[in-house]
């Protein structure tokens, strides 16, 4: 009972500290509003304003028809260049795609000689190169096919493919961008807030004061975990409801409450991680370096920027120990696919286990190093 009371009071104290630190408040407000808005609106569709150039060596009605097939928003209006300009343009990264229509193309098509159009792709821009090249192929072949048959509309294909995209019918990147930014910021803020709170207490000598009182290290640590976790959780909830649903008008299929439960479990793990890192670092500069080194992989390898199944097995397995992986899985399932607890329980369980392990390790380390902090 006394433990619970101490936990509550120490946590309230943390909240007061944060409330009287305007720089931190501005930062939290920024990361959960402006930053999410910018990330959501800047993310392009996979094929969005793709830079394309065409070398038209034919100059026929058919080649003109092909040129006119490319228009915004998927493609920038195609740049008409000479054959000699291909290398320079691609070297400088001005174009991702260059289409070379050979001389006498129309004549050869009508004669049934099946001429070859060359498509140059800048393969260093992987994401665009992949989807773009198959898209360009389909567009060109479609135009040629229609030209040959002399009328618009699909040829009588016996078997039609009815392709439907579930959960995000128009594949809008902003849906993805906004929610992933929230997930990223939850991780970033929770680690830095708790870690910095501990280092600040150490630098101001107040940790020593606390330890001279009838308060246990576990209480000090748990108080930071719940208070900072609560702040981030609230901010994430507000961002989800007001910025994502309100301003950006992104529909959320699943239950916001269930997402917040996932976030709470995730925060238990990340705030513990923040404390652990603060016990490792001897000073704020070291904490800063450590934060960068840990945050980057946590975010980039969680399946949040690129699909998990495409990563090497080893990375996939190692990242199973990271809370972000399970949080991202659960969040995607809940928010986009409207999944319920029956579907995401395994991610929840994993988060809880990871959180418990992190917390225990951090507590052991905190107890051991606490005398060195005085």
């Amino acid at each position: 009972m006394a433990h619970l009371a101490n936990l509550y009071r120490l946590g309230i104290k943390e909240l007061w500290s944060l409330a009287r630190d305007p720089a931190m408040l501005v930062l939290i407000a920024y990361t959960f509003t402006v930053s999410i808005y910018v990330a959501a609106t800047a993310m392009p569709e996979t094929l969005h304003k793709a830079p394309l150039a065409i070398v038209d060596e034919d100059g026929s009605p058919l080649s003109a028809r092909i040129v006119s097939a490319f228009y915004p928003p998927r493609f920038d209006p195609p740049a008409m260049i000479a054959l000699a300009g291909i290398d320079a343009g691609m070297d400088a990264g001005v174009f991702t795609f260059v289409l070379d229509i050979p001389p006498d193309f129309q004549r050869d098509v009508l004669a049934g000689r099946s001429p070859v159009i060359q498509l140059n792709v800048d393969a260093t821009r992987m994401s665009q190169a992949f989807t773009g090249s198959s898209f360009v192929q389909q567009m060109v072949l479609g135009e040629v096919g229609e030209f040959v048959q002399g009328y618009r509309g699909s040829a009588p294909v016996p078997v039609e493919l009815a392709l439907r995209i579930r959960f995000n019918p128009n594949l809008e990147q902003s849906w993805f961008g906004a929610l992933m930014e929230i997930i990223n910021n939850v991780t970033l803020l929770s680690i830095i807030l708790t870690g910095a709170a501990l280092i600040r207490e150490r630098e101001h000598g107040t940790i020593e004061h606390l330890l001279a009182m009838p308060v246990t290290p576990a209480e000090i640590m748990l108080a930071k975990v719940w208070s900072m976790g609560l702040v981030v959780l609230l901010a994430a909830g507000v961002a989800l409801v007001f910025v994502v649903q309100g301003v950006l008008r992104i529909p959320i299929e699943g239950s916001v409450a269930l997402f917040l439960v996932a976030a709470a479990l995730h925060l238990f793990a990340t705030t513990s991680l923040g404390i652990f890192m603060a016990t490792l670092a001897r000073s704020m500069p070291q904490f800063g370096m450590l934060a960068v080194l840990i945050l980057l992989p946590l975010q980039l390898l969680s399946g949040n920027s690129t699909p998990r199944e495409s990563m090497p097995e080893l990375v996939q397995d190692v990242m199973l120990a990271a809370p972000t992986t399970h949080f991202v899985t659960a969040a995607q399932a809940i928010l986009y696919r409207g999944a319920g607890l029956d579907v995401v329980w395994s991610s929840f369980l994993a988060l809880a286990v990871i959180g418990a392990v992190f917390f225990t390790i951090a507590l052991i380390r905190f107890r051991r190093t606490i005398s060195a902090m005085v």
Binding site: A42, M43, D108, R125, S127, P158, A212, P297, P307, R337
Partner: protein, 909 residues
């Protein structure tokens, strides 16, 4: 006495920090060639006045003339700053703790443009005269307080100043070292008679020997004159008493001399604290060396010694804050155990630094501590009220601690330590920096607690007159207790005139003479003055060298930067894959004919897809899509084969998980392509047509630069800009703001170094470190990843040099306008991670971005460096083809540096 031209004169000088008035309309002439003392407790404005005088702080109101010019003029300040020397308050505040004595002195010598031989000569002379020569290689962080102050003095004297400004040089220093320090000053003054010295001090007894005094209180001048004049005017015997007499009437009210009633007899057996051979080691360093103590209940027990002698550590051992290395301690007959929560309730502890929560108000602090000590909830309001009354906090009860004067803050600390009615109070230097009246009132409170409430008080102090008020004292030096007895008894045993003299005697017996002054010729006054140059390479070099040394002394930071980036490169190189592969799919085959199975087989042959167990029904399809188990679900309808055979149109259903748009887009492409392929195959198979007849044209796709479309060659050059942006920026960001937090930024304010020299000097070592980083990453790319450099290595290196100059510059920029390390850290993370990962073209080309992100991508140098790394690694390019990307980079460097220089202030505001 003041007929000579004054060295400095102040007219109507005022200074405010927010709402707090630090200096209130001060008009004063300070005589030249003398030793002038600024007298008064902490917080009366002494330090502010000295900071204004030295040019460290910008003047808000009024005028200050010093050394023949107006100190508001930047031109005059830069002309006279080589003639002024300023030693700020705090032990070794403007020194660099990880650097040795020699390195600190070399740094200051270089700042003033002395050549190597000249520096050697001056350093030798100064260290010989201060007795520091044997310790030249010792890091400053490991020096005693007295030695730090001597070194501070050496650094201040290295350029022969005409005006020497010392802010509380002897606070926190033991009496012996203090006496030595003043002897040194006297000696130096006798050799450089023209030098004016201005000293601030809170020790009234020191001021006795000064030439001329300024007594200050609450931002005003109380009185000026020679010590004898002040004593005569107030009719007092000591300066302490004179100061109190000079205070205005309302401040003196209620003050009376402190008297200590004797300790009640018969309490010898009732022991509150007992320690046997208590020892504490930190590595090789013995902080507390076999200390034995026995303190009776109700006794006021004093602990006397210099900073760093082990007083605080002993107190922490007794409270259980630190576990002892050896020996034992008992509180009230119970062994001290850090885990024993119950004994903590019987102890109140007040640590050396003010350590209450500055974010909580006075009342909130009291209530929080009462609750944490489990005072019953119903008793708390009354208890807090009692504390507020007893410790005179009524007027301040809703104020924030930071806005209160130090004396009241210390009363609050004492009230907090007392809130749970402890039987034992452990107070670590509670009166440090408190004015004489507040000190006396604090003592009266403590004496009342001891005599009336029978609270045992264990107190440490470095004021000798306070030591005299204790029942018994222990003198401590270098971790050992030299002697323990009643103060009067110690004076008698030693046959000394005062307690201070007795203490010095014991210290000398203990062998503290080692650092004593040996007289040596001081620096000749005919040294070459440095010329004023707009940008001095030697001063910038001085900062560069110093920064490099500090970086070397903190190997953890440098190795995290080097190894950390290498590790991240490996992780990302292998981990972030842009190929979309191994996608899970499953088929709901309602037809179950040869043809439908043929269609499904068509997919399973692809390297992009991995087949999962077939879908059983609609609900299964929905569930597995929702769970994210499938990226693609195919539904083949009833009668598929039959309808195809009859030529009826049939629909095959394909559901793609759109949660990750990039992945969905790719899946869509794959599926459409495969569907087309299947149709073609069927047409050829059934109708016997050849490919040419069905295809009016074909497309030959050439994947350039990366023919196999492998992720690694594309990713490795993309990771380099990100790592070379974030890590160097983080290193420099904290390098500058740390100086602000720790105080050594003062060297920028008061020495001839300019802002550009300071910043560029600090930047240089980090640029070198970042280039080392670059070399390491390039090596990794070529060897471990097997991504060859196809283009010009020179162009790549040149681009990297420009880019890391920018990124280190960005760190400097982030730290010029922030005040705390944490704020600088945040600005750096937000200013680098998001633009680098999202807007620099790592995942999506800049030209495809929208809105703000597009603009950031175009302006931010990371995207241009990415073009260079990809150009060189993947496209075999050189300078000529990449010129367009070099220009924005080359432009960004001066822009970010100019911004940093403009935002950095040469004076504190």
């Amino acid at each position: 006495m003041t007929t000579a031209a004054p060295v400095a004169s102040l007219v109507g000088v005022g200074l405010r920090y927010g709402k707090v008035v630090a200096l209130d309309n001060i008009t004063l002439n300070l005589p030249a060639g003398r030793m002038v003392g600024l007298l008064g407790p902490d917080g009366v404005g002494k330090s502010s006045l000295l900071a204004l005088l030295s040019g460290a702080r910008a003047i808000q109101h009024g005028q200050i003339h010093a050394l023949g010019g107006d100190m508001t003029s930047a031109d005059h300040r830069s002309r006279v700053c080589p003639r002024i020397s300023y030693m700020p308050q705090g032990l070794g505040k403007n020194l660099y703790p990880t650097l040795s004595i020699e390195e600190n002195l070399q740094f200051f010598g270089r700042l003033f443009g002395h050549p190597a031989a000249e520096r050697r000569r001056r350093i030798d002379a100064l260290t010989a005269s201060t007795g520091l020569t044997p310790f030249l290689a010792r890091p400053v962080g490991k020096l005693s307080g007295g030695m730090k102050q001597k070194l501070g003095l050496c650094c201040a004297l290295i350029h022969d100043p005409d005006l020497l400004i010392l802010d509380e040089p002897t606070t926190g220093v033991d009496p012996l070292a203090r006496a030595q320090f003043w002897n040194l000053i006297t000696e130096i003054r006798s050799e450089r008679s023209g030098m004016s010295v201005i000293v601030a001090t809170a020790y009234m007894d020191e001021a006795q020997d000064f030439d001329w005094l300024v007594a200050m209180d609450a931002g005003r001048v109380l009185a000026t004159g020679t010590p004898t004049e002040l004593l005569e005017r107030s009719g007092s015997k000591s300066l302490d008493a004179a100061f109190i007499a000079l205070l205005p009437e309302e401040r003196r009210r209620g003050h009376h001399a402190v008297t200590l009633p004797p300790l009640a007899a018969g309490s010898d057996t009732d022991i509150a604290i007992a320690a046997q051979d208590l020892t504490m080691r930190f590595g090789d360093f013995v902080a507390v060396d076999h200390v034995n103590l026995s303190i009776r209940r109700g006794e006021i027990f004093g602990f006397i010694g210099s900073n760093g002698c082990g007083k605080s550590t002993t107190m922490k051992l007794l409270t259980g804050l630190l576990p002892a290395s050896a020996g034992s301690a008992e509180l009230f007959g119970q062994t001290v155990d850090p885990k024993n929560i119950a004994t903590r309730r019987r102890v109140g502890y007040m640590s050396q630094a003010f350590s209450l929560y500055s974010e909580l108000s006075v009342r909130q602090n009291l209530v929080l501590h009462a609750r944490l000590f489990q005072v019953p909830e119903i008793d708390i309001p009354a208890r807090v009220e009692e504390m507020v009354q007893r410790f005179g906090l009524v007027a301040a009860v809703d104020a924030m601690p930071d806005t209160l004067p130090l004396g009241i803050r210390q009363r609050l600390s004492l009230a907090v330590a007392m809130v749970h009615r402890p039987e034992l109070l452990i107070l670590d230097e509670p009166t440090s920096g408190v004015d004489p009246i507040a000190r006396d009132s604090l003592w009266q409170l403590m004496i009342d607690l001891a005599r009336q409430d029978r609270v045992t008080i264990f107190i440490s102090t470095h004021f000798m007159n306070e030591a005299g008020r204790c029942d018994r004292i222990s003198l401590m030096h270098a971790g050992r207790v030299l002697v323990t007895d009643a103060p009067a008894e110690l004076v008698r045993q030693r046959g000394a005139a005062t307690l201070e003299a007795a203490f010095i005697g014991y210290l000398e017996d203990a062998g503290a003479r080692g650092e004593a002054v040996t007289s040596a010729p001081a620096v000749p006054a005919t040294a070459p003055r440095t010329h004023r140059v707009p940008f001095s390479l030697s001063r910038a070099w001085s900062y560069a060298l110093r920064e490099a040394l500090e970086l070397r002394r903190d190997p953890m930071r440098a190795s995290m930067a080097l190894l950390g980036t290498a590790l991240l490169m490996v992780v990302f190189g292998y981990g972030i894959s842009l190929d979309v592969e191994n996608l899970s799919y499953a088929v709901l085959d309602r037809d179950q004919t040869g043809l439908s199975q043929n269609y499904a087989l068509n997919l399973s042959g692809s390297r992009y897809f991995v087949e999962r167990p077939p879908i059983t029904d609609d609900r299964d399809l929905d569930r597995r899509l929702r769970a994210g188990q499938l990226a693609l679900a195919i539904e083949i309808p009833h009668g598929f084969a039959r309808d195809v055979a009859r030529g009826h149109s049939v629909q095959i259903g394909a559901w793609v998980d759109g949660a990750m748009p990039v992945r969905a887009e790719t899946v869509r492409g794959y599926v459409q392509g495969m569907h087309q392929g299947w149709l073609l195959e069927q047409a050829q198979h059934r109708l016997g047509l050849d490919a040419a007849a069905t295809n009016p044209a074909t497309i030959a796709t050439r994947f350039r630069y990366n023919p196999d479309v492998r992720s690694l060659p594309a990713m490795v050059p993309a990771i380099m800009p990100m790592l070379l942006l974030m890590i160097p920026a983080m290193l420099t960001a904290l390098a500058v703001v740390r100086e602000k937090e720790l105080g050594s930024i003062i060297n920028l304010y008061v020495t001839p170094v300019t802002r550009s020299e300071f910043l560029l000097g600090k930047q240089l070592p980090y640029i070198l470190l970042a280039m080392l980083n670059f070399a390491l990453l390039t090596l990794l790319a070529v060897t471990v990843f097997g991504v060859p450099i196809k283009g010009s290595l020179l162009a790549l290196t040149a681009g990297a040099l420009l880019f890391v100059t920018f990124s280190t510059g960005f760190g400097l920029f982030a730290s010029t306008f922030t005040r705390s390390q944490i704020a600088a850290m945040f600005v750096t993370i937000i200013g680098t991670i998001i633009p680098a990962v999202q807007f620099a073209g790592m995942l999506n080309p800049v030209s495809s971005l929208e809105g703000v992100g597009h603009v950031i991508g175009l302006v931010y140098p990371a995207a241009h460096f990415l073009t260079i790394t990809r150009g060189v690694f993947n496209k075999a390019l050189g300078f000529a083809s990449l010129e367009a990307s070099f220009w924005p980079l080359a432009l960004a460097v001066p822009v970010i540096l100019m911004l940093s220089i403009l935002l950095l202030k040469k004076q504190e505001r």
